[in-house]
C-alpha cells in the first residue's frame, strides 16, 4: 500500500518556523559566539592596489594593551592550498592563502592580523601597524583599464557555445543590431558580516562560520590544515544571508583558524564592512557585445553574445553572461563566449543569478532594441521566437510555461494599454515608461543525504547539513516531513547548517529545495519503513502482518482491515524512542530533458524630467519555477529579487579610483542599494505553480535567483520608453537621462 502525501501542506503559505528564534534574538549567528577565553582578531588591510610589502613595523602595535600576537607573511604557519574542486566539494574562489607571501594583488587584502584580548584592542593595535609598500605605479582598477593595458583576455572555452553559422548569418540578416552593454562591479552586501569563530580542541577544529556551504567549508579547512575531514566541523545554523558571497570560504576564515591554533585560544574574526567589498568576492564588471539578426517577420536569424569580465590577478572567475542566451529563444545560428582579464581586485564570485543577471540585462535590452527596430511590440517579438526545445543541449525543456507567464503578466499589468510612442504616457509632472523582459534560470539538483526520525513523543526530527540562508529552508523541510507523515509543523524539529549532519548541498544556484526535499522525503519514508518493521515484529501493534499491508496515513499506521494505530503508540508499545530513516538521493536525471525556469517582468517607471527623478512605480512578475512549496517564502524570494534588481538597474556599482586603484564607495552609505522608499507602490508576483515531476518528486525547481534575472533590462526598457534614452551601461544614472 502506498503512503499518502498530505498534499495540502505543499504549496501552503506558511510563516518561517525559525521566525520566533530570530525575532527574539535566540538565533545564534557566527559572531554571536563568544567562547570562554576567546581572543579577537582584526585585520590590517592593504592600502595599495598592487605591489609588495617592504616592511611591517609592529613596534608600536606590539606594545598596545591586550595584544597577544600579530601575524603576517613572515610570521604565519605554513598551510596547504585547497585543490578547489567543485566535484570534490572543496572549492574556493580565491585559492591564494592569506599571508602566503609579501605580495599585494588588490587593495583591502589581508597583510597582517592582530590578535588581542578584546575586539577594541585588536582594532586599535591593527591601526597602529605600519606597513611600507613598493606600490605599482599603474594598478588596474577597472575593466576598461584592463582592456586598455592589461594582458590579452583569456577565453573560457568550457562555458562557450556555438551552433550554426552565427557570423555569416548575422551578416546576411535583413535587420541587424550590434550593441555593447556594460555592467559594473557589484558587491553582495548581506546584512550579516562575514565572520569566523575558530576553536581547536585536541587538534580538532570547530568553526562557526557565516557560510552558505558547511560541507565545502569543512572540506576546505581539512585540506588547508592537512587534516582528515572528520576532524573539522563547521557550523552555520543561521545566516544573515550571503547572496553567493558565502558559498565558498575566503581568506579571513583560514586566517582566523590558523591564528586560533597558534595562540591556543578560540579566535573570533569579523570582516569589517569596508573589506567585505574587497576580500569576500563581488560580481565582476562585464562588457558584453550582442549582435542580433532578424528577418522582417521578427524571427531571429542570428545571435551572438561575447562577453569579458575582470578577474583577480591570482584566480580565474568567469561571469557566464551567455548562459541564458544559449537557449532562451529559438535561433539556429548562435554563439556565446566568455573571457576574463586580470585586474587588481579580489577574486570575484557568484552573486545572485551569476551570469544570468548581467547577461539578461544585455540580452533583454538588446531584444527590446531589435523589437523597436522591427517596429514590433517587445512582447510579441519575444513570443515570435519562443521555443520549447533547448537548442544548446538539443533536448526539450522538461516543463515550460513562458507563454503563460507572458500572458498572465501582461494581463495583470495592462500591457495592451501601452502606447508604444516614446514619452507618450504622461501623468502630471511625470512620464510613465513601460518595459518588460523575460527571466530565465537553470534548474539544478545535487546529491543529498538526510535523516528523519519519528519520535515516540509525537514529534519528528529532520536533519541535513544544508543551510537556511534566510530563504525558508527550515520551513520547507518541515513541510516535506509533514506532507508525508501528517505531523503538524510545530511538532517537527529541523536541524540544518552543521557539517556533522548528513551531507547536504551548498545553498546556492537555487538548487537547495530541489536537492534537499527529495532526500528528506526519502528519509521520511525510510523512517516509516522502520516503523512498519517494528510494528510487525513480535509484540508490535501489527505483529505478524506484512509490511506491505500497512500504510502510513496522517500519523497512523493502517492495515487493510481498517485497524489503525498512532505511530506514537506503535513505538511506546515496544518501548522504542523513535523510528529512524536515512536517505541518499542523486542529482538531476540526465539526458532526457533540459531543466530550466522561466518568467517575465513587467515594469513601470515614473520619470519626472523637471527634477530628473526616476522611480520604479509598479512591477508585475510572472514566474514559472515548477511546484511552489511555500507560497509565502516563494513570493518573498521573488519580491526580494525584484528589489535587488531595481538596485542593479538604478544604484549599485562598486567603484575604484582609476589612479590609486583604491575602493571609493566601500561603505553602506555610499554604496547604494534600494531602501524601503524605493520599493514600487505595487509589486505583484504571479507564481504559475506547474509541477515539474520530471525533475523531482516535488516538482519544484527552486526560486531564489530567477527573480533578479531580466529585472534590470525591464527597468532599462521602461526607461527607454519614458525618456527615449537607451542606457547600455548600469547603473542608470539620472545625469544620463537629463536632456542635454
Amino acid at each position: 500500500m502506498t503512503d499518502k502525501i498530505q498534499a495540502k501542506i505543499i504549496g501552503a503559505s506558511k510563516p518561517r518556523i525559525d521566525g520566533p528564534q530570530k525575532l527574539s534574538g535566540q538565533a545564534m549567528y557566527a559572531a554571536d559566539h563568544h567562547l570562554p577565553n576567546m581572543a579577537y582578531a582584526y585585520g590590517v588591510f592593504s592600502t595599495v592596489a598592487s605591489g609588495t610589502i617592504d616592511n611591517i613595523d609592529l613596534s608600536k602595535a606590539k606594545q598596545m594593551p591586550g595584544v597577544i600576537d600579530i601575524f603576517h607573511h613572515d610570521h604565519f604557519p605554513s598551510l596547504y592550498r585547497t585543490p578547489s574542486s567543485f566535484a570534490q566539494e572543496n572549492k574556493v574562489d580565491e585559492t591564494r592563502l592569506p599571508f602566503e607571501d609579501g605580495k599585494v594583488y588588490y587593495p583591502g587584502q589581508f597583510v597582517a592580523l592582530v590578535v588581542a584580548d578584546t575586539f577594541a584592542n585588536a582594532r586599535a593595535a591593527a591601526y597602529a601597524v605600519k606597513v611600507a609598500y613598493s606600490a605599482d605605479a599603474e594598478p588596474i582598477a577597472t575593466l576598461s583599464q584592463a582592456l586598455e593595458r592589461g594582458d590579452k583576455p583569456k577565453t573560457a572555452d568550457s562555458s562557450g557555445h556555438s551552433r550554426g553559422n552565427p557570423d555569416s548569418a548575422f551578416e546576411s540578416s535583413a535587420n541587424q543590431i550590434d550593441v555593447t552593454y556594460v555592467t559594473p562591479m557589484e558587491t553582495h552586501n548581506p546584512m550579516e558580516m562575514h565572520a569566523s569563530v575558530a576553536n581547536w580542541e585536541n587538534g580538532d577544529l570547530v568553526l562557526y562560520e557565516s557560510s552558505q556551504g558547511v560541507i565545502f567549508a569543512r572540506n576546505v579547512m581539512a585540506k588547508v590544515f592537512g587534516l582528515p575531514p572528520e576532524r573539522v566541523e563547521v557550523r552555520s545554523p543561521f545566516i544573515g544571508s550571503g547572496f553567493g558571497s558565502k558559498l565558498w570560504l575566503w581568506p579571513h576564515a583560514i586566517a582566523a583558524a590558523a591564528a586560533a591554533r597558534e595562540v591556543g585560544r578560540p579566535v573570533q574574526l569579523v570582516v569589517p564592512r569596508q573589506q567585505m567589498f574587497t576580500t569576500t568576492g563581488h560580481r565582476p564588471p562585464t562588457q558584453q557585445q550582442i549582435r542580433i539578426g532578424a528577418d522582417d517577420n521578427g524571427k531571429l536569424t542570428a545571435l551572438t553574445h561575447d562577453s569579458v569580465n575582470t578577474t583577480s590577478m591570482v584566480d580565474t572567475y568567469v561571469e557566464t553572461t551567455g548562459s541564458c542566451t544559449k537557449s532562451l529563444y529559438d535561433c539556429e545560428n548562435l554563439r556565446v563566449s566568455h573571457a576574463t582579464i586580470g585586474a587588481n581586485h579580489g577574486t570575484p564570485t557568484s552573486m545572485r543569478a551569476p551570469g544570468a543577471a548581467p547577461g539578461l540585462f544585455a540580452l533583454e535590452s538588446a531584444m527590446d532594441e531589435m523589437a523597436e527596430k522591427l517596429n514590433m511590440d517587445p512582447l510579441e517579438f519575444r513570443k515570435a521566437n519562443y521555443t520549447e526545445r533547448d537548442q544548446s543541449m538539443d533536448l526539450p525543456f522538461s516543463s515550460i510555461h513562458l507563454m503563460e507567464a507572458f500572458d498572465k503578466g501582461a494581463e495583470k499589468f495592462g500591457w495592451s494599454k501601452r502606447n508604444a510612442e516614446i514619452g507618450s504616457m504622461g501623468d502630471g509632472d511625470e512620464i510613465l515608461g513601460w518595459g518588460m523582459a523575460a527571466c530565465n534560470w537553470e534548474a539544478l539538483k545535487m546529491n543529498c543525504d538526510a535523516r528523519v526520525s519519528l519520535r515516540a513523543d509525537g514529534t519528528a526530527y529532520a536533519s541535513c547539513a544544508t543551510q537556511d540562508i534566510g530563504t525558508g529552508t527550515y520551513t520547507i523541510v518541515a513541510q516535506a516531513v509533514s506532507a508525508i507523515t501528517g505531523i503538524p509543523l510545530d511538532k517537527i524539529e529541523v536541524e540544518l547548517g552543521d557539517s556533522s549532519y548528513p551531507s547536504g548541498p551548498v545553498s546556492g544556484g537555487s538548487w537547495a529545495t530541489a536537492t534537499t526535499l527529495p532526500a528528506i522525503a526519502e528519509a521520511t519514508r525510510s523512517a516509516i519503513d522502520a516503523l512498519k518493521s517494528y510494528a510487525i515484529s513480535d509484540g508490535g501493534a501489527f505483529a505478524g502482518a506484512k509490511s506491505d499491508d500497512l500504510s502510513f496515513d496522517d500519523g497512523k499506521l493502517v492495515d487493510g482491515d481498517g485497524k489503525s494505530v498512532a505511530y506514537t503508540d506503535v513505538l511506546s508499545q515496544l518501548k522504542l524512542a523513535n523510528a529512524d530513516g536515512e536517505a541518499h538521493t542523486p542529482g538531476a536525471p540526465q539526458g532526457e530533458y533540459s531543466f530550466r525556469s522561466f518568467g517575465a517582468h513587467f515594469v513601470e517607471v515614473r520619470w519626472d524630467p523637471g527634477i530628473s527623478r526616476l522611480r520604479v512605480s509598479r512591477v508585475v512578475s510572472a514566474i514559472d519555477v515548477g511546484q511552489i512549496i511555500n507560497e509565502k517564502t516563494s513570493a518573498n524570494q521573488v519580491e526580494g529579487a525584484i528589489a535587488m534588481g531595481i538596485g542593479m538597474a538604478l544604484f549599485e556599482a562598486t567603484e575604484y579610483d582609476e589612479g590609486s586603484g583604491l575602493p571609493v564607495n566601500n561603505n553602506y552609505a555610499e554604496y547604494l542599494v534600494p531602501v524601503h522608499a524605493d520599493q514600487p507602490d505595487s509589486v505583484d508576483v504571479i507564481l504559475l505553480d506547474h509541477p515539474d515531476y520530471a525533475f523531482n518528486e516535488f516538482g519544484a525547481r527552486g526560486i531564489g535567483e530567477i527573480g533578479i534575472t531580466g529585472m534590470a533590462a525591464a527597468v532599462a526598457n521602461a526607461v527607454h520608453h519614458a525618456t527615449g534614452k537607451r542606457i547600455r551601461e548600469l547603473p542608470i544614472r539620472l545625469e544620463e537621462l537629463m536632456s542635454a
Binding site: 591601526y127 523637471g610 552609505a669 539620472l734
Partner: protein
C-alpha cells in the same frame, strides 16, 4: 578606533574646560564622531560627552526668534510644533536627512559640525588637504560625482557640505551661540561654515575649545511659505546630489521676499542672495524661477563627474519655488 579618555560634563563650563589641554572632541549623538573614530580618521585623545548639558530646549524668544538648544535631536526639532508650523523648510530638511534612527541620535550642534562625505577624506590614505594639509586633493581628477561641490570650491578642496538642516538654517537666517574659554559670543550662521580656500582643514568659525550652545533662528518672514526639496539617486537615506530650501512671500502674484539656499552643490550651506534679489518684485512664474535658478549657479565650476549638478540644482530651485507658490 584608538583608545581615548572619556569625560562626561554636566555644565557648559565644565565641558569647555574638560575639552581644553589636549586633542579633544565633544560627543553629542556620536553619529559623525564615532563613525570617524572607528575608521581612524578622527583620533581624539579625550572625548567630552555633552549629553548631560541642559541644552535640550526649544524656546520662543520675545522678538519672535526661535532658540534651539544644541542637544535638541534632529527628530525633536523636525516635529516641534513651531518648526512644523513656521519653519516648514527646516522640518522638511531635517526629515529628508539620514534615517529615522540616525535622526533620533543626531543633535542640532552635531549636525552643524558634521564632516564631509568625500571618500578620499574617509579612506585614510589618499591625498586629502582636509585630512592632511598640503597632501593634495584626490577628488579633483578622481571620483567626484555625488558628494562634491560646484560652488565655493578651490583647487585645494571640492567636498560638498553634507547637511540638509544647515541649508534650511541658511535660508531662514540664524545665529550660532557659542561658549568658550573666553566666554560667550555669537556667530552669524552664514559666517559659521568656511569656504575651503587654501585651508580646507579649517571648516568653521569656532575657536579652540568653543562649544555650540544654541542656534537661534531669525523670526519667520510674515506671510511666507517655505519648503525643502532634496534630489538624489535613491528615494531616501542618501546625501543630496542637489537640494533647495526656499522661503517665499508674495503679494498677489508678485514676489515680496524670497530666500534660497542650496545643498549638495556648495562647499558650505549655500545661500543664493543674488538669485533672491532677482526674484523680488517679479511675478511668481516659472520664467522668474528659472532666471533665479540660473543666477544661483552663476560662476559654478563643474568637475569631471558632477557637471550635472548645475542643471540638477537649478531644477531643484525651480521646483521648490514652484511648490512653495502653488495654489
Amino acid at each position: 578606533m584608538r583608545n581615548f579618555e572619556y569625560q562626561k560634563a554636566d555644565s557648559v563650563n565644565a565641558a569647555v574646560s574638560a575639552h581644553a589641554g589636549q586633542p579633544s572632541s565633544f560627543v553629542a549623538g556620536g553619529t559623525t564622531l564615532l563613525d570617524l573614530v572607528k575608521i581612524d580618521i578622527m583620533q581624539p585623545e579625550r572625548v567630552v560627552d555633552v549629553n548631560g548639558l541642559p541644552l535640550y530646549d526649544v524656546e520662543e524668544l520675545d522678538d519672535g526668534r526661535l532658540k534651539i538648544g544644541a542637544m535638541v535631536s534632529n527628530t525633536d526639532l523636525a516635529y516641534h510644533p513651531k518648526v512644523v508650523d513656521q519653519y516648514a523648510v527646516l522640518s522638511e530638511a531635517l526629515l529628508s536627512g539620514a534615517s529615522t534612527s540616525l535622526r533620533n541620535k543626531a543633535t542640532t550642534g552635531g549636525n552643524v559640525m558634521q564632516r564631509v562625505r568625500c571618500p578620499y577624506f574617509r579612506d585614510g590614505v589618499s591625498a586629502c588637504n582636509k585630512r592632511e594639509p598640503g597632501s593634495g586633493c584626490a577628488a579633483i581628477g578622481g571620483h567626484n560625482r555625488s558628494v562634491h561641490a560646484v560652488l565655493g570650491t578651490s583647487d585645494k578642496c571640492i567636498a560638498s557640505h553634507p547637511s540638509d538642516m544647515c541649508v534650511a538654517m541658511a535660508a531662514i537666517g540664524a545665529t550660532v551661540l557659542v561658549s568658550g574659554p573666553n566666554g560667550e559670543r555669537e556667530i552669524d550662521f552664514l559666517d559659521f561654515h568656511l569656504l575651503p580656500g587654501d585651508s580646507p582643514e579649517k571648516e568653521h568659525a569656532l575657536e579652540a575649545d568653543e562649544l555650540i550652545t544654541h542656534v537661534v533662528l531669525d523670526a519667520p518672514i510674515k506671510g511666507s511659505r517655505s519648503t525643502y526639496l532634496k534630489l538624489r539617486d535613491r528615494a531616501s537615506y542618501q546625501f543630496a546630489l542637489a537640494s533647495s530650501g526656499v522661503i517665499i512671500a508674495t503679494d498677489g502674484n508678485t514676489i515680496r521676499d524670497a530666500r534660497i539656499a542650496m545643498g549638495g552643490v556648495g562647499t558650505k550651506p549655500w545661500r543664493a542672495r543674488e538669485a533672491e534679489q532677482a526674484l523680488i518684485g517679479q511675478p511668481a512664474t516659472e520664467a522668474s524661477f528659472k532666471k533665479a535658478a540660473e543666477i544661483a549657479f552663476k560662476g559654478a565650476t563643474p568637475y569631471e563627474h558632477n557637471a550635472f549638478k548645475i542643471p540638477l540644482g537649478q531644477q531643484a530651485v525651480v521646483r521648490s519655488l514652484t511648490n512653495a507658490t502653488a495654489a
